[in-house]
Point group: C2
Chain length 240, copies 2
Amino acid sequence: MGTKERRQRELEDRERVFLECARDLIRDEGLLNLQMSRIAEKSEYAVGTLYKHFASKEDLLLALTVVDAEQHVDLFRRAAQWQASTRDRMFAISVADMIFVRRNPEHFRLAQYVLTEVVWRAASAERREDFLACSEPIGKVVVGIVHDAVAAGDLELKGLSPEEICTGLWTLATGTHNLVHAEGVLDDFNVREPYRLMCRHTQVMLNGYGWLPLIDTGDSESLDALIQRICKEVFDDLCN
Amino acid sequence: MGTKERRQRELEDRERVFLECARDLIRDEGLLNLQMSRIAEKSEYAVGTLYKHFASKEDLLLALTVVDAEQHVDLFRRAAQWQASTRDRMFAISVADMIFVRRNPEHFRLAQYVLTEVVWRAASAERREDFLACSEPIGKVVVGIVHDAVAAGDLELKGLSPEEICTGLWTLATGTHNLVHAEGVLDDFNVREPYRLMCRHTQVMLNGYGWLPLIDTGDSESLDALIQRICKEVFDDLCN
DNA sequence: ACAGTTCGTGAATAAGATTCACAAATAAAT
DNA sequence: ATTTATTTGTGAATCTTATTCACGAACTGT
């Protein structure tokens, strides 16, 4: 009797509907104006039903973030599995991030809010674990590349752990996402293409680590060529 | 007739009282549980009076951030004015950040929340300008060091603007603050002293830029010695 | 002492998130 | 097929807080 399974499936479908409606509302009216009652209205369910799925508004927002994170992990996996030098594979992670942002321009705005203490604490413990669990592979994948690099002799750890090396690149990315969403800040600084700049900084950092083969960080044509190549070879279906 | 001036002063004093009470409440009960009525109660004024000073709760939080930011700028200025090589001065900025965090452990948790679209938009336009105005010198000071470095022949821009170079170091700092406040993330990564790690990454990045004199990023004793020296020579009154 | 003005107050209002008693739908038992 | 039990969905009512604003108190200048 598959009736239980069907119920389960219907439940998941409905959850997806709720999340999509929420996403649409955020896109159209802003995170600031998101109301639980409007989500219920738009999805044609009662408010109570919405609360059967999400412990609180914040819980729903975190759930939304989890959906994105799954896609994010997927892009990182592809970058890591690319057949190329360890340095290029690590760089491909930055490109993956850039592509992810292009496809989910609102993600980090949401994530920034959701990872705030206030919101994070207001989500359910279960959902928080979901998030951590689905983000974990991101770290794993990137640390894996560092290990490969050490094994291949492309990189010396110099007293740092692979995780610590990753942290440097990670903060570069996180920081960029932050600044991009901080009103007016980057404009004042005349930064036109923040993610391209992030890529350049990633290369600077990789050089700083002594990650072989070293490149000329001033050669922006090669940089663009490499980005293009990664788009073609790794993310062909995702680049226009 | 200094009566107008006295009023003005009393007003400012009261504002300071409100902000201090708010800070205490946040420290003791968490940002999540901060209530305007509690701030009024604690400061022994009426809620209405509180609203004479702050357009909204978010506005008050931003005001709190502004107070911190003033201190932050001050530390950066001291780092920039230090009589040392351009590279060491730039590195001293990271140390300034580290010291700032030690003295204001809650600042970036608050800032992270406040700079969120939702909260930022809910603060008054005036306060937002205050914030931008008082943060501006931070950028100025750091860009100044880059200019000095170029003038001194310690650094080649290689097609980047001084602002863009600063952005790299800035994202490193911002990203670090973020990760520090993201629950559980750094623990899983086994990062014990995130700000010391940030310093190491700053040095890696400076090497990556080719900022002279290059150093051996693996030599953590020299790193600690330099940090100590900066504490002594620049921030003597602030380091225990 | 008096009229005019500014300031502080906190009860009243408003906006929304969240709950929960009940109704409808479904499943199980006879 | 009918009855009983269980699960699910509902939305009006509740609760929590931020925010307002009509009023009286305090102050200013005459």
